[in-house]
Symmetry: C2
Subunit: 300 residues, 2 copies
Amino acid sequence: MKVGIIGAGSIGLLFAAYISRVFEVAIYTRTQEQAAEINKYGILLRKGTEERRALVKALPISEWQGTEELTIIAVKQYQLPAIIEKLNHLSVIPECLLFLQNGMGHLKLLKGIKANSLYVGSVEHGALKENSFTVSHNGEGATNVAVFQGQTASLQYLAAALVLDFSIIFQKDFYDMLIKKLIVNAIINPLTAILHVKNGGLIENHFYFQAVKNLFAEISFILNLEHPEEYLQLVVDICKKTTNNRSSMLKDIEANRLTEVDAILGFLLEEAKREDKKAPQIENLYYLIKGKESDREEVL
Amino acid sequence: MKVGIIGAGSIGLLFAAYISRVFEVAIYTRTQEQAAEINKYGILLRKGTEERRALVKALPISEWQGTEELTIIAVKQYQLPAIIEKLNHLSVIPECLLFLQNGMGHLKLLKGIKANSLYVGSVEHGALKENSFTVSHNGEGATNVAVFQGQTASLQYLAAALVLDFSIIFQKDFYDMLIKKLIVNAIINPLTAILHVKNGGLIENHFYFQAVKNLFAEISFILNLEHPEEYLQLVVDICKKTTNNRSSMLKDIEANRLTEVDAILGFLLEEAKREDKKAPQIENLYYLIKGKESDREEVL
């Protein structure tokens, strides 16, 4: 089976390195330079003290034809519209697509896509891109996958191949799967990014934890959660489990990168509007993070 | 006339330096060390390139008797309960007290105080305490003063003496006077402190300005403002006028000091509770700032 991976950030490199052990992988990069480097050095996967080189064919995204049996789209949500534009102009209908974006803002973009099967996934791995061809796998997790539309055929192969040391968990309900991650992200990401604290800080500092609970109450009301206490517990558990981690949004803000705030809080604001509910805390955090992003542009 | 000044922070030192030109001033300090230094060096007042030394008697607060004709209380709001405790145990009833705290949280503390006249003031000066006896007067403003209870007699002398280069403006209505400053403080202080931006940033960055407008709408609703657009304009004008200033709360957070969040946002939360209204944005900001203060304690 041939697998295409679009996007060579931390998650794209990680998946390419693992999947290339059993399938032929082509990774599509944003720049010609990165493709050249990966073709020259392979992908270097670091895990603990181990280092392993994966030989993977790399091409600039302009050369993507959509002919692989499985294509994994591992770009950020804000880069997705450009990819979907390309998808709509392919000369073939792709067999199987798996979208790994955070949040749920991208779901509405996926609705018009033509493909025989379309999956969404939620990645729990911790991965850090060290340079254009090196990725460090510093947090083991699973990849949760669920059908968004179409058949499940192609992914079964993938699951069989990866189950050894890169687990794939099939979930029945893509909404339930994504909403859990969204809630966790909607609380941990903006608060840690605004406060410049590690994940554990949100539950260790009782004032911050009060802010967590208030924000959760607003999210719970917007999403009409049936057993809210379970979701809040999930947030607390993840803060504990990742106590010394800096959230992705905190890292993005510190590195003057764009964040995924539109995919995360932006989605919740749209949900609030659709339900005709107010979301004052989410809106406030949304504008503070957007403002930080826009200050970043002034810095560059 | 003898004037007592309680508190030798930036505002206490500033007032002592100016008032000592025409009246005999005693300044009461928290520590014996600071009193000794002021007695040794006087108060050094810097303004632009000018430097002027004021000879002022300094005493530790424990020696305060309340016998001066006018006493100006220039401590932070969170230090006020200790001062009021002392006030209640003086052997005389003070003639005239002027309280210069920010916010409105202190008004309820002032209600039981015995004094022949009791004033509240709102200081617009920019002043920076450079060391225990040096203050830099880096922003000219006025001091707005209004009767809180009792007679206006004593302050008329003060006004006459200070009008030359340290203006005192008498306001009819203490509530209206303080509420304006409270609104300005409730918006500029917490947002700049959380975002680590100068005052001008709040209106130059259009995302931050959206957060300003949303927060203002919540405050306006809680305070039942009759012409809200005037107050919002005041906030904008002050952001423009002080565009390169760091707000006091930002400076407090950066220097790991306690902030005046209880006097400012805490007051608004009490008002919201009294009016049975929700204040989700204010509450969120309140907990974020309180959390920052409490992180500070861990640092120390």
